[in-house]
């Protein structure tokens, strides 16, 4: 009788179509694996992750009596869970599998085929040596809270909140501005259907306010998030509005009666194109419809000698409270959805376009406000001096597809530029010139919209704009802004005199993206947007379990895509918490009491206070609930009394030896 614990290892090398087999000599690797200690069988298959591949492993577990499995394929971040499940469903312990990454670490990054095969052999040798030391492990189950925290009250956060709340989850929706709505609330119409943005957004905003399972925390910031999946502790800072949210009815009387008879301070919501008073409601459809006082401009805050006509106007409602202070509130949630959105590219960075210097140059978001019926001009697209433009130039790709600023395509600019072209023509009758590099209109109904615009006699000039100038070179250019561009279809330089220039600015990560990233311990991709767990298979998940992302904080995208992602993120959050418990990885630290000397070196090292001294026996104990499995204490223990499951010293040392074997 042979020892049942004697390793009988199966090695499965995946071709991944040509992804691996095109570079690594897989048959040679399989032959090599067969000669490694403990290997009972080694096989090649086209796609190990497919059902036949998984069934091959299950069959061998039964027929060849395998008790350890090595899968040499892609990153464990992609398919470790797949192969653990496959082994588990074959009746074996899922932690007797080890994945060797010969795709991301070998075939995709190595030019030389011989060297790639040698490296793959070394990695497989390391995996085989390591897996021989694996022991069966149990996953631990922990309760999860059902509450969801959503950061950001734009269309993504709104959609996610409604989906989660409709599924019976209590939602905390945190928005830093005084009202939810985000960028979408600033738009006039949406492409390609030309639906009015407010008509489709404001009902959803109202639904947020009325939903019994949504706690809306506007004018608030998330300060800290501690804990882990299923049990996050959240701290939110509520900025003082100086108006009691529970008492204010949004009647505007305080605003009308303010000692400032006219609005004279730039409105944040109107991007400075409109004015507001020190007490204001950002826009008429705001949710919550509650006034805010800006202490920077309010006379009472600046001098303490105001007549406080606002207080008189409020009367019995008694909502105005100059003594309101910042509040910090704390609550627990099980999952988090990050929907913090984007910022627009600051066009002033491209000095050759004159933004911020030439009054006729606008960014696209400003023109959205001009076009909006609830905007500063009541929907009239006019210049700062009130003139109606007769010729308008729209410059695509400002800050996008430009190696000096952002190399990526912002995806929505071609479409919103066409939309603005339509609106400008409709409202002003002006000649409109769109300067584009490539016209990118993929999407349902998008190409059709482009063709519709072509029939509206839009002037399309293919070429990147070199300069916007107010220096005339001819009588026709007198008093005009001149757009200078190379027309790459005509093969010459064009100078187009216009009255108004609209810069179609890029979508960029929020300025505090980095701070939010740190609070939530997420990752960003190289352009600064939040990084999804997998671009295709886990597009709304992050590397931090229980934290999901939706909308433009993950990358530029349009409204339909944002809404779909938001629903997906809510769905993931609901799925994760629907059973009431979740299973966590068993890779925890544990103490071998016989070896522990009670020196307590490990105790202060643990970031989770998971280690305690048992004074009676002078040994330490590690709490399974608190330990997160980093292994810092393991490396520090001078007696070698602490180990970490799945990352045992001997397993890692076998890996070291293995990777050096060739």
């Amino acid at each position: 009788m042979s020892d049942p614990n004697e390793p009988r290892i199966g090695v499965y090398v995946c071709d991944c179509g040509f992804n691996i087999a095109g570079v690594v000599n897989v048959p040679e690797l399989v032959e090599y694996a067969k000669g490694l200690k403990g290997v009972a069988v080694a096989r090649e298959y086209k796609y190990m992750c497919s059902s036949p591949g998984q069934e091959m492993i299950a069959k061998d577990i039964h027929e060849v009596k395998l008790n350890r499995i090595v899968v040499a394929s892609c990153s464990p971040h992609l398919h470790e869970a797949t192969f653990r499940r496959a082994v588990e469903s074959a009746g074996a312990n899922p932690f007797l599998v080890h994945m060797v990454n010969i795709r991301e670490q070998v075939s995709w990054v190595t030019k030389d085929r011989v060297k790639a095969t040698e490296k793959a052999k070394a990695l497989v040798a390391a995996g085989v040596a390591r897996v021989a030391l694996h022991a069966p492990l149990e996953r631990r189950s922990v309760p999860v809270r059902s509450e969801v925290l959503i950061l950001g009250g734009g269309i993504a956060g709104i959609q996610a909140a409604l989906t989660a709340a409709d599924a019976g989850r209590h939602v905390y929706l945190v928005e830093r501005e005084p009202s939810i709505g985000g960028h979408m609330a600033k738009f006039d119409k949406t492409f390609p259907t030309l639906d009015c943005a407010a008509c489709i957004l404001t009902p959803k905003m109202t639904a947020i306010k009325n939903h019994p399972d949504i706690t809306l925390l506007s004018y608030s910031d998330v300060v800290s998030v501690d804990g882990y999946v299923g049990n996050f502790k959240v701290k939110v800072r509520r900025k003082p509005r100086y108006v009691d949210e529970a008492k204010c009815v949004g009647c505007y009387e305080c605003i009308e009666q303010c000692v400032y008879k006219t609005a004279k301070f730039p409105s944040e919501f109107e991007l400075g194109l409109g004015k507001r008073k020190p007490i204001y409601i950002p826009f008429p459809q705001a949710i919550p419809l509650v006034a805010v006082i800006d202490p920077e401009t309010c006379i009472e805050f600046r001098t303490a000698h105001c007549k406080k006509t606002c207080v008189d106007a409020c009367g019995e409602r008694d909502a105005i409270d100059f003594k309101q202070t910042e509040q910090t509130i704390e609550f627990d949630v099980g999952t988090i959805i990050v929907a913090t959105g984007f910022q627009i590219f600051d066009a002033a960075r491209m000095t050759n376009y004159g933004y911020g210097k030439l009054p006729g140059v606008y960014n696209a978001l400003e023109v959205e406000r001009l076009a909006a019926s609830n905007g500063p001009t009541g929907g009239e697209i006019v210049l700062r001096d009130g003139r109606r433009p007769t010729a308008v130039g729209i410059v695509h790709c400002v800050g996008s597809r430009d190696e000096h600023y952002n190399p990526y395509c912002s995806k929505v600019c071609c479409m919103y530029s066409l939309k603005l072209a339509h609106l400008v023509k409709e409202r002003t009758g002006a000649e409109v010139y769109n300067f584009y590099i490539d016209m990118r209109t993929p999407g349902k109904g998008y190409e059709e919209f482009y063709h519709r615009l072509l029939s509206e006699n839009l002037h399309l000039i293919r070429g990147k704009v070199a300069e916007v100038t107010d220096m005339p070179e001819s009588a026709a250019e007198e008093g005009k802004l001149v757009i200078v561009a190379e027309d790459t279809l005509l093969g010459g330089i064009r100078r187009v005199p216009v009255d108004m220039v609209i810069l179609s600015v890029a979508l960029e990560p929020q300025p505090d993206q980095e701070a939010v990233r740190r609070i939530l311990n997420m990752s960003c991709s190289s352009e600064g947007f939040f990084l999804e767990k997998h671009p295709k298979l886990a597009p709304v998940s992050t590397m931090s379990d229980g934290i999901f992302i939706a909308g433009t904080c993950q990358g530029p995208k349009d409204i339909p895509e944002t809404v779909a992602q938001a629903s997906a993120a809510a769905g993931e959050a609901i799925a994760l918490t629907s059973k009431g418990t979740i299973t966590l990885e068993p890779n925890l630290a544990y103490v071998e009491e016989g070896l522990c000397s009670g020196c307590q070196i490990c105790i202060p090292l643990c970031p989770y206070n998971a280690i305690e001294l048992d004074r009676a026996r002078m040994v330490v104990r590690i709490s399974d609930v608190l330990c997160k499995g980093c292994g810092v204490c393991v490396a520090a223990c001078p007696s070698g009394a602490i180990s970490q499951r799945l990352f045992e010293d001997d397993q890692l040392l076998q890996e070291v030896e293995g990777v050096l074997s060739r």
Partner: protein, 141 residues
């Protein structure tokens, strides 16, 4: 064979699961090409890397050892990388006193987004160790 003309160094890299391993995956996804001399060993946190692993790697034939983790303040486990930094400083001092060349042991913070930095570090480390030649404990005696 190792000594003829072209020396191919063997380098062990200990990388954390959350930052550098992801950067290496991303380098793969973007099909960045780098020399196959650096072989990765994944731990959950760089703080798991016992200095003895580094010694073991040199003992078992490594010509260089690379330690990689998340940038300061970015550790998935809040502070594991600071422990790594402290241990590295001590280990480096000790090994330098024992005669180990500076370029054979290196610590780098590589975040999940820095696949290009990962490629650059791997290439640079490989070239530096290649110049040093094979690691010979006790001066090769």
């Amino acid at each position: 064979m190792m000594q003829t003309q072209h020396f191919e160094p063997r380098i062990v890299a200990f990388v954390c699961n959350w930052c550098t391993y992801i950067a290496a995956d991303a380098a793969g996804v973007s099909r960045a090409k780098y020399s196959p001399n650096v072989r990765l060993i994944r731990t959950m946190c760089s703080g798991r890397v016992d200095p003895q692993f580094v010694l073991a790697a040199f003992e078992k034939g490594a010509d260089g050892v690379l330690l990689c983790g998340c940038h300061p303040r970015d550790c998935h486990y809040s502070s594991g990388n600071y422990k790594t930094l402290r241990r590295y400083a001590l280990l480096k001092k000790m090994l330098t006193q024992l005669g180990l060349e500076d370029d054979r042991l290196r610590l780098e913070w590589i975040s999940a987004s820095e696949s290009e930095k990962f490629r650059r570090v791997v290439e640079d480390m490989t070239e530096r160790v290649r110049k040093l030649g094979p690691f010979k404990p006790n001066g090769g005696e």
